[in-house]
Structures are given as structure tokens and as C-alpha cells.
Symmetry: C2
Subunit: 496 residues, 2 copies
């Protein structure tokens, strides 16, 4: 298809000047409207070397208010980036609501250069396409306006441009051996581009091929595409105001009649003091050794804790980390999002915390807040928390594609045990700070939360990322169960 | 002095258990008090390899609420970090008010390893000490509680520990050739430690040498030092509430009678259209070439704009960047700080934006807001803006030590010209969004702002970082003056 495109299209100088000026005014206005409507915008530039990305991006940003955009160059991943899932560095750069992010090369490197070079690094190609599709769809579902440009020139034109750059001593250094090697592989890249277009062109994030032989034609086409997409997105936002959240916790659909998972949990499981002490010592020694192993083998580990208030998350995490080297792990406590976090996709703040390969991150509460507290307290819309089940599964799958060991613990206690612990906290001076009116309020909504938890466990226990329910009426039992589950999962991974 | 220290001190097991438990409760309480009083805390761990930093840090953090601290390991700088001034990676990790940051190795690497290795990289040693002292004093002045531990063991003890680690196959990999090389250089490091203590022990950030042969003794000493310092800092905060800001713009002291800088500026300077066009074309071509040069030579460039509302900053920046490659520059517009930024030192948000060597960052308004808008509008205390002159000079000096080209432009217009432009903005549909009630309010305070600007120009025009006053009644003249000044400064630097 790319070969069929007519690359001879041109625009005259006078026509260009007038049209560009008009387009610049328009884009400036649309940027302000998008800002006021809190629409986040992503524009991706991919294409051939020497197709003029730098100049075309600069043309696009000149009429924009610099307070409202950032430009990112996706060079080959640096060390920090190579140690994380390949979408990580793009997720953390997704713009806040009302802002533009412009990418000079993007997540498509993975399915272009990496593919043609067949370095054998990273996940297989189809997995990468899958991860990209869910990434883009998740953003679009959250209200992002996404545009992708493929700057297209012929092999002959590329050759001509390289020669021109190399003739000028001031710019000769810009054409590298890599560039010339890629030039010789023009056909291989063409096939990669075609495949990329076929796999990732979607309503959510459409591709526009830009005939880039004539920079005036290319500039105008980019302006028109961007302004057109913004106008449509803005019109949609003005027509359909964002629905207001409504509180709804009851499980929906057939699942409501399914087996109640939490009901079947045996909360009498316990461990007596002496056995606990011995087991703790042994397991803590084991996990310290594994911490060294995962560092040497560059395995990333994510452990997340969810559970009732006073289920013992804090003490459990403390026993897990007590003997570890603090350089190898991090505990991330998750509370309500701050202003910056609220102005991004709800998964953004978790992406920013993803561990490097070789490190361990422990989340004290997590992204599951979306389908529990945010759902029950009406902090998001029903459509949003319904969509979240699939989004979370996709995110966890992306982590698994990267080789992450992912453990999810639900700490279960019964209402009587919770009451006992609340009272104990109130009566012990050193624990009093742990209990607040908030805890009592949540407790009164036990049933609503339970329904949400049941649905969460059902919909997000995937074969790759199952939940482990931890019987926690006896704290000692719970601590050893978690420690052993973590050790086993890591050992399994190191063997595999 | 270090050699004189009695390293045989020990604590018995029973005594330790009780004392540590007591210290843990206390530290937990103090952390919550520090949080409530918004006191930021930094704890630095330096010392010999195998002195037990990992274990001692873990002991310290276990009683802390994980929502309130972060641990950072200062490995040798990665690529991102090596391309910035050496304090950059620590500045951006300074904790928000109420939080702890614990550093496993720190900015002292520069004056320890780098010094002993004499790699000749980086600024000379005395410059580094100077930069460290101003960094720590700036934080202390802002209310930080700063503690620095030097974990000390003898050469014989270090040898014994290395041998023990190497005997165990599971841990043998942890002792590297580097470690052994440093062990042989024990005396050289001892001298470096002594020098470091002498140069950087201060009330603002005192050093505590910890005898680390006995880990129980070391743990308790660390706990006692931290809790003692926190108690003193908390008591001080409770006794003396933070003074409220008061508006005061009139220049103070002898300078008030000095020459009025702005009065002498010749605002009739201008350029006619045809000459402007030719000069613009020429200068834009020149700066594009220089952009490539600084990239190849890894020179960092910072250009900051300050000036009256409607002085033409936006249009000036646009002409500066019009022809540049967007991969090489970034425009950072500076508005009021957001919540996250407010919870840090006021210079923090600018440190996070410092360009990599080889790149250019253009600040549209800057850290000078502290001594202009924050001063005039009473957004900080008088003590704070008075202190800021010196702090800013120190920051700019640190940037210069790293080889940064730093340009500071004051865009000057007179009140009549401002009025003309305000009216034009109100009457032109496409410019109307640029003008607000805020602008008219600021205009009424012209004299107060002028006094603040005069004092700023006087106190922060250092030989290393002078201000350039740009006569801006004629925008064309102003644009060419800035472009040429930037080109000249870069050329000067490339020659040097």
C-alpha cells in the first residue's frame, strides 16, 4: 500500500503561506479549547530517516502555547528504561489533561527497528502489538485525542537527502553508519511499516501517512489532520458532558449468583508462637537470598497487598522486608491521588512506580482501588470501573510479558476480628494514630465493599496473575503464608 | 582524628533489645510529629564498604511509616545524571515537607571516590566542597533537618568482613575487584574522609561518626542521634511559628540610593523592517548551526527571560526557536507553583528542569520570581526573599562550575508602551486571550515591581552570570539583540 502512494504532491509558495497562517491561528485556538475542556492530546511522528521529522515537528509546535505541550524524543532506551517494560517510558510521559505530548519516534520503535534488526530482545512481535493496542485504547477510552503520523519518502529521495547532508561539512556527522545500513534495508523497513499500519490503525488511534517529499505539502497535511481531529474531539466533549459518577457496588450480571469466594475462606487457620518464630526466621533468610538472586538475574518483582482495614497489611509488609537489603526493595503506600495524579489516567501513577528489573516493589494498596474504594464511594463512573477490570488485566499482562513476578494478596479477616482490632487500637496509646473516623465509616459499608471485592477477585484472577487469599485472623499465619508464597513464586521464576 | 576513635565499643544483647524497642516507638512518634509540622528530613549514610550500611539503614526505616520516606542508593551516576551538574540528582530527590529521604551514599561520592581515583572528571575538589556547603545550608535555611553518618571500621575489620562474605558462595559475588582495590587504598580514603569532615561539618548539617564494629552499638547510636536531632528540630518548630509574609518591595540599604539601572536604558533603540528580516534570517541560521555544535560538544545552555507583562517574551522566544531542531531545546514556561512544587524548596522545581549537557533549556520566567512576584505580592517572607539573592547566585555558580552557558535577559519596556500593547491585545480577537485582569492589576504596581527589579539586577549580576537588559520597545530590535547575544555566548564557550 505504501508503494502505491503518490509522493509527487506539492504546494506552491504563495498558497502555502496563506494556508499555513490560517492553520496556525486555528490550532492556537483549538489548543486553548482543548485545555479548557481538559482534553489530553498525543501526537506521534514516525517515518523514514531524513523525512524531515525535526522540521515538521517544529512547524507544528510554533503556534502552540509552550505552557501546554512537551516534545519527547524516543531515542533507544537508556539503562533505566531498558530495565522496565517497553511501554513504561511512554506511559510515564502521557500528558496531563489539557496538555499535548508530541513524540519524535515512539513506542513503535519496538515493532520497527527492533524487529528489522531481529535482535531477539524483548517480547515477541505479536505480544508487542497487543500491548500497544491496549495502551492506545486505554488512553482513548480515558478521553485522549491520539494522532499518529508516518512520514513517507521513497528510497531514491532518502538517498538524495543523505547525500545532501553529507556534502555539507557542518551537517555530515548527522548521517551515521546506522542510517546508511537502514537505508540499504529500505525494503525490510517498508514491510515493517506496512505490518505496523495493518496491526495498529484504529479509530482510537488512527495513522495518517504523510507524503513528505514536499515539506510544504507535508506541513499543511499535518496541520489539517491535527486541527480536524481536535475539532471532532472538542465537539464530542461539548456535546456529551462527562457523566457523573454514581455509587453502585452490587455485583452485576451472572457473576452475582456465582460462588461467594470470601465466604469459603477458612479463617480459623492459625500458627502458634514457637512455630511462627522458627518459620519466620527461616523464610526471612530464604527471601534475603532470593533478593540477591533476582538482582543478579535482573528479575523484576511486584507484590501488592489489598485487604480490609486492620487486616494487618503494615505488619505483614514489615516482616517481609525486615531482613532485606533496602537497596533492593521499595514499599509504595497508595493513598488518594494528589492533584497531579488526578490530572492523568488513573493507571499513570502506578506506572511511574514500576520497579526496575532486579528490584522488588511492594504496593500497600494498589490500582485495585479503582474497583473498590473508587467504585463504592462513587469516585468514578460506572463505565469507568467496569472498564477497569479489563484495563488492569491488560496492564498486568504487559508486566508479565516483560517477565515480572507479580503477586497479589488479599488479606481477609471477618467483621468481628476487625472490631476487636479497632478497639485495641483505640485503647493502646502507641496504636491510636492508626485508627480514624474514616475506618469506622468504611466498616459500616462492609457489605458493599464485600460485593466489590468478590467481583474483583472473580474478574482479575487470571492464570498469569492470580489472587492469593490470605487468611489473616491469625497474623502469624498470614505473615508466613505471604512470605512463603513470595519465595515460591520467585524460585519458580528463577527455575523457568 | 578518625584513627583515634575507639572502635571496640559494644552493647549487650539484652540491653540492646530493650533500648532498641524504646527507640523505635520514639522514632515512630517523632516521624508523625515531623509530618504534622511539615519538617523535611534528610539522613545520609556514608562510610567504608562492608561497614553494614544496608543493615543499618533497614534497622532505621523499619519503625517508620512507609508512607513517609524514600530510600535512595547513590550508585555511580548513570548517563542521564552524568550529563548534569553533580548535585542535580540529589536536588531532585530532596523530600517534600514532612517526609524523610534516606541516602545510601550521597553527594559525597564526588569528594571521596572521584577524588581518590583522581579521574580528573568534574569540577576541582574545592569547588565541589563549596557547592555541597551551599546546597546543605540552603536546605537547612528552608527548615530541613539534615543528618550525616559516617560508618567507620578499621582496615583489619574490613578485611575480615570481605573474607567472610567471599567464603559464602551465595554472597561471594558481592565483593568486587573495585572493593578490594579500595581496601588496599584504605589510607587514601581515610585522608579523604578526614578532609570531608573538616570541610563539611556544620551546624546546618552535622556529621556523626558511627563506630560500626558492633552492629548493636551502631544501631543504637544512629537511633539516638536521629531522635535527638528530630526532638530539637521539632521543639524549635513548635516554639517559633513560621513568620507570616509581609509585602515589602522598596529596595533596602545603601543600594536604594545607588544608580537606577532601568532609568538609564535607551528605549529608543530600534531596527527597521528590512534590516530586521535580513538579520533574523542570518542569526537563525547561525543559531541552528550552534545547536548542532553544542550537541556534539556536550555543552549545556540555559537561557532565561524575565520582563514586564507584554514586553514580548513569547514572540522573542518564538524567533529564537523557530529554526531549531526540537530535539535539542525545550521551552519551560514558569507559572505559580503547583501543590507538589509548593511542598518542596522553591528552587526544586527549577532543578528538575535543568538541561542535559548538549541541550538548551529556555525558561519563560524563572527562579527570579522569588525576588519579584513572590516578594511584591507577599507570597514569601522578607527573610526568604532576602536570602534568595545569595541562594540564586550559588545555584548559578554551581551551574557554571559544570560548564553551563547561562544567559539572563531582562526585557525592558516603558509604561506607555505596555499600555499600548495591552489595548492592542484587547482589541485584536486573536490576541484577546493574552490579556487578563491580572495584567492590569500588576500594571498598577509598576513602581513596586520596578524597585524589586532594580535590586534584583544589582544583586544577581555576577561576573559569571550577568544580566543582559534588552531594550524592547521595538520588538524587532529586541529579538535580534537576544539572538545575537545567545550566539556570541555560545561561540565564546566553544572557543574556550
Amino acid at each position: 500500500m505504501l508503494e502505491k502512494i503518490d509522493l509527487s504532491r506539492k504546494v506552491g509558495k504563495a498558497e502555502y503561506k496563506e494556508a499555513r497562517e490560517r492553520a496556525e491561528w486555528k490550532l492556537g485556538d483549538l489548543q486553548r479549547e482543548a485545555r479548557d475542556l481538559a482534553i489530553p492530546v498525543i501526537v506521534v511522528f514516525e517515518g523514514w530517516d531524513a523525512a524531515g521529522k525535526g522540521t515538521l515537528i517544529n512547524n507544528l509546535i510554533l503556534p502552540l502555547d509552550p505552557r501546554g505541550f512537551s516534545v519527547y524524543s524516543a531515542l533507544p532506551p537508556n539503562e533505566e528504561e531498558a530495565l522496565r517494560p517497553f511501554l513504561w517510558r511512554f506511559w510515564i510521559r502521557t500528558p496531563a489533561r489539557g496538555r499535548f505530548a508530541i513524540f519524535d519516534r515512539s513506542w513503535y520503535r519496538r515493532v520497527l527497528n527492533d524487529r528489522v534488526d531481529s535482535r531477539g530482545k524483548g517480547p515477541p512481535l505479536r505480544q508487542a502489538f497487543e500491548d500497544i493496542r491496549s495502551f492506545e485504547r486505554q488512553l482513548a477510552d480515558d478521553g485522549f485525542c491520539l494522532l499518529k503520523f508516518l512520514l513517507h519518502i521513497s528510497k531514491a529521495e532518502q538517498k538524495r537527502r543523505f547525500e545532501k547532508i553529507r556534502k555539507n561539512p557542518a551537517t555530515a556527522w548527522r548521517v551515521t553508519g546506522e542510517d546508511l545500513r537502514r537505508h540499504r534495508q529500505y525494503r525490510a523497513y517498508l514491510a515493517a511499516f506496512e505490518d505496523m499500519l495493518a496491526e495498529t490503525d484504529s479509530d482510537a488511534a488512527p495513522w495518517t501517512v504523510v507524503e513528505a517529499h514536499d515539506h510544504r505539502f507535508a506541513t499543511l497535511k499535518i496541520f489539517e489532520t491535527v486541527t480536524g481531529a481536535l475539532e471532532r474531539r472538542i465537539a464530542a466533549a461539548q456535546k456529551k458532558p462527562k457523566p457523573r459518577p454514581s455509587r453502585r457496588a452490587r455485583p452485576v450480571g451472572a457473576d452475582a449468583d456465582g460462588p461467594a469466594i470470601l465466604e469459603g475462606v477458612d479463617l480459623t487457620k492459625s500458627l502458634e508462637r514457637e512455630r511462627y518464630r522458627r518459620a519466620l526466621k527461616k523464610s526471612q533468610r530464604r527471601i534475603r537470598e532470593l533478593e540477591h538472586e533476582i538482582y543478579l538475574r535482573r528479575v523484576p518483582v511486584i507484590i501488592l497487598y489489598e485487604g480490609w482495614d486492620a487486616a494487618g497489611k503494615g505488619g505483614n509488609i514489615r516482616r517481609l522486608t525486615q531482613n532485606l537489603d533496602p537497596r533492593g526493595y521499595e514499599v509504595v503506600p497508595v493513598g488518594p491521588p494528589n492533584d497531579t495524579e488526578k490530572s492523568h489516567h488513573y493507571l499513570w501513577r502506578f506506572w511511574t512506580q514500576i520497579p526496575k528489573a532486579g528490584h522488588m516493589t511492594i504496593f500497600d494498596r494498589s490500582w485495585y482501588g479503582r474497583v473498590m474504594v473508587e467504585r463504592v464511594e462513587g469516585l468514578c463512573t460506572e463505565a469507568e470501573w467496569r472498564r477497569a477490570f479489563g484495563e488492569i488485566n491488560e496492564m498486568e499482562q504487559h508486566l508479565r510479558h516483560f517477565g515480572t513476578v507479580l503477586l497479589k494478596f488479599w488479606l481477609q479477616i471477618d467483621p468481628d476480628e476487625q472490631l476487636r482490632r479497632f478497639r485495641e487500637r483505640e485503647q493502646t496509646p502507641h496504636k491510636r494514630w492508626k485508627i480514624s473516623q474514616e475506618d469506622w465509616r468504611n466498616r459500616r459499608k462492609w457489605d458493599e465493599y464485600e460485593a466489590a471485592v468478590e467481583e474483583m477477585l472473580l474478574r482479575t484472577s487470571t492464570p498469569q496473575a492470580p489472587w492469593t487469599i490470605v487468611e489473616s485472623n491469625c497474623k502469624w499465619y498470614a505473615r508466613i503464608k505471604v512470605l512463603d508464597a513470595v519465595c515460591e513464586a520467585i524460585e519458580q521464576r528463577l527455575k523457568g
